[in-house]
Amino acid sequence: MAAIVLNDVRQVIEERVNAELKKAPIIPVVFNNVPYTPTKELWVQCLVNFGSNTYLTLGGTTGSANMIDGIVVLNIFSEIGMGAGANLEVASRLRNLFNRVITSGVYFDAANGPDMQETSSPANYFQSQIRITFETVESL
């Protein structure tokens, strides 16, 4: 076995989000480090980050296993002053994509949120946020 390819984990997540948001009504989605000029309409930002790494077994650089933590942060932006309905509809779809799901060796925890953000970033949107931590095993 080899060290984990972090881009494989990222791909698992981003492909799921992309496939879901391509279904009608299509909603634009932007990922880490991709330029995007938002319009007034609904759009989603999908961010993936990795966190702590813990030993699962004894051993060295071979024949051992680690547990890697990570998080998916989904920011859902909708038009300001139009209520929360449209935003939460998308949030439900995205939440269901990951909520306690196990896929391609990535174990997603119960989803946190959607939390309504008091101040959106970028400004002038109604923003909600879903956060799903996950873990995956690295077999060396």
Partner: protein
Amino acid sequence: MTKIIKLDDLGAYYEDTVTSLLRGTVLELGVAIKKASPVDSGRFRMSWQIGQNGTAAGQLPPAPSSFYQKAKPRTSFYKDQGAGRMKTVGYQSGYENIGNSYYIHNNLPYAEALSYGTNLPPSWKKAGIRGSAQARIGWLDLIAKAQLRKTKSRLEHIRRKG
């Protein structure tokens, strides 16, 4: 070596052990959150509080201006809490007990942006409110997950040891 516990003392033994686990968890989590908090003036980091069965209503006061003029490293403003500890609400730090809920919270108006965003909203920066670019994506949840794993593993250890 085998630990001999009388049957009558079994309940108290487990209660003491789990209370220690709870106290350690609250303390460790508090320290981890403070350490990971993005710092510009340091007010965000020093505004974390732990409430027992509730949260504080208001913001903690900022440090006096003389504090910010001191050369770094600065000394802790809330000296009574000790290094790395937080201000507590409704109880004394180190006396957490089972059956209560503990809320680690931050009442600063920009705490949400720093905790769940990656920085302050652009409009705030335009308004001259300073920000820090150190906040990592999802940093609070990642700390909570790491702590949950540690606590579960310690609880498992207690079960096996007991």
